[in-house]
């Protein structure tokens, strides 16, 4: 930069900012905070939505539809009717029970599955290093598989015991293995469906049946057919709908966050506007002197805009770093 333009830049832009360092820093921080808050909330929102849809997708695997109980469960006699419907290629029954843990606080979701059918719909499950052993493990009435998330939070390893409170009884399971993280994102334990029905006192009950359509079958027709089996006790969902539903549940919460982010941005913006307006007022005499020395109105405007842009740039850079960091904290927590 030449000596001349350096003098101009310092006279009109950088000098005044440095001279009022406190105010300049305050404006930079205000922009940074507003942007950081807005950005981190947006990022957390997006991460949550991604997580929800990923969870739904991993839950469904290759299933096109799921027949789910409108209440807690439905009778297993519906299962063969579902499996035999034309257009249904695979039907995988499940019983899901939220059980109290005996030695620890909290509950864990136990998902009873028919290992062979479940495998056919869950490629991630089928690709487990020793899929056959894993499948065999599922048939053993005393053993369960736990998802990676459950293994981590409950600090479980293969061979550990997990005791569950069912009514007045305590049932002990052995952890037969840990499912890979891709297979199940939720914190769950998986066991044989017959074992689950028996252990949790839900003999003859199912909570859902995942369905894969035969190629060429019309999803709409199959859907209507299945729904007509027991209109009051079951409903049909798709992975997309399940995701939408989960997203809808968290939508109002996320809308609040978004509103908060907007308020933060607006407050930041207003603060910046008022500091700049104040700065221009304060610099009125300075501008009058500059005008007398031959600085045109247009150049004065340029000085003010360049100063604002510089402040905004510094604040935004800082805000983006801070916001990304905050979001990471929020997502990890």
């Amino acid at each position: 930069m030449s000596y001349g333009s350096g003098v101009l830049l310092e006279a009109g832009v950088v000098g005044p900012m440095r001279h009022q360092l406190g105010r300049t820093l305050l404006a930079v921080i205000a922009i940074a905070l507003g942007l950081a808050l807005g950005l981190s909330i947006y990022l957390i929102n997006r991460a949550a939505a991604d997580e929800i849809s990923l969870a739904a997708r991993s839950l469904y695997g290759l299933a096109d539809l799921a027949v789910v109980a409108t209440n807690e469960d439905f009778e297993e006699e519906l299962y063969p009717l579902i499996a035999r419907k034309p257009g249904v290629s695979i039907a995988s029954p499940q019983l899901r029970v939220e059980a109290n843990l005996a030695d620890r606080r909290g509950t864990l979701a136990f998902v009873g599955v028919d290992a062979f059918r479940y495998r056919a719909l869950q490629p991630a499950f089928a690709s487990v290093a020793d899929a056959d052993r894993t499948t065999r493990t599922l048939f053993d009435p005393r053993t369960i598989l736990v998802s990676a998330a459950a293994a981590q939070t409950l600090e479980l390893r293969e061979g550990d015991a997990l005791r569950v409170q069912v009514g007045l009884d305590v049932i002990a399971f052995e952890v037969g293995g840990v499912l890979p993280a891709e297979a199940f994102r939720e914190s769950i334990a998986m066991l044989d469906i017959a074992t689950a029905q028996w252990a949790f006192g839900r003999l003859g009950r199912l909570s859902s049946v995942d369905v894969r359509l035969a190629s060429g079958a019309s999803a709409l027709d199959v859907r209507r057919e299945l729904a007509s089996l027991a209109p009051n006790r079951i409903r049909i969902t798709t992975p997309g709908e399940a995701t939408d539903e989960a997203l809808r549940l968290s939508r109002s919460y996320r809308a609040n966050l978004t509103a908060l982010a907007l308020v933060a941005l607006f407050t930041g913006g207003f603060f910046v506007y008022s500091t700049q307006a104040l700065a221009v007022l304060r610099r009125r005499r300075e501008f009058a002197v500059l005008h007398a020395l031959g600085v045109t109105r247009r150049q004065q405007l340029g000085f003010v805009l360049a100063g604002s842009a510089l402040t905004g740039l510094c604040g935004s850079a800082l805000g983006i770093m801070l916001g990304t960091w905050l979001a990471r904290l929020g997502v990890d927590a």
């Binding site: 003098v7 440095r18 300075e286 002197v289 007398a292 020395l293 600085v295 045109t296």
Partner: protein, 230 residues
């Protein structure tokens, strides 16, 4: 052709009752001439300087600078004319507080596109001639009033303007500093053959100029009949 021609200029402020500040003021200034304008407080001296500088426009009459009628120019053109051809010294110094002494003096050069080593050399020489060569990197706040006004004189002259307008440049200075600044201003003007208008309350100050004019309470300008500076 004279450098500056002021022709029956009138200026009033306010509406009903408008206050007539200048009333049929005429003045002709040639290149290299140095005149003083005296008058009581509120008589319109600053107003007249602002009109000459093109910072304000007269209600009646014409101001012609170097053949150009200021009223014919737009604000940006007048600003550029002022930037290139005029220099200003204010009563309250008005140095930019966030710039060093040297950069305050460099500003008119930067505005006029004089860059690099040429600009730096001229700033250095200008500061030497107002005896502030050693204070180039000081902040204005570190200077005395007299020193600040010498910096302002340097800033008003560094780009070699044809006309320097000084509005009460010694109003805030003690007698010794005032004498020093006035002597310096006159010497620099004469060295560059620049014209100057010095506005002042003080007869002693006015006597450093070639001619003295008086702005009276009715807003009329007349030459003071008194031999000065033989």
């Amino acid at each position: 052709m004279p450098l500056l021609q002021i022709d029956r200029v009138a200026k009033a402020y306010g509406v009903a009752p408008a206050r007539r500040v200048l009333n049929g003021v005429s003045l002709v200034l040639r290149s290299g001439e140095y005149v003083a304008i005296m008058g009581d407080s509120g008589s319109g001296k600053s107003t007249l300087l602002n009109l000459i500088a093109g910072l304000d426009a007269p209600d009646h009459g014409r101001i012609v600078f170097d053949g150009q009628d200021l009223a014919q120019l737009g604000d940006a053109e007048r600003t550029r004319l002022r930037r290139a051809r005029m220099g200003f010294v204010f009563q309250a110094f008005h140095l930019l507080p966030h710039l060093s002494v040297a950069r305050n003096v460099a500003l008119p050069l930067a505005l006029n596109g004089v860059r690099g080593a040429a600009a730096m050399a001229r700033v250095e020489r200008m500061l030497e001639s107002v005896e502030l060569g050693s204070r180039a990197h000081s902040a204005p706040s570190e200077l005395s009033g007299g020193e600040m006004q010498r910096v302002a004189v340097a800033r008003a002259l560094v780009h070699r303007p044809s006309l320097v307008l000084a509005d009460e440049p010694t109003g805030n200075l003690d007698a010794d500093s005032a004498r020093e600044v006035l002597a310096l201003l006159r010497a620099q003007l004469k060295r560059d053959s620049a014209a100057g208008i010095l506005v002042t309350h003080s007869l002693a100050a006015a006597r450093t100029a070639d001619r003295i004019y008086v702005l009276d309470g009715s807003g009329a300008l007349s030459e003071r009949e008194e031999p000065v500076h033989a």
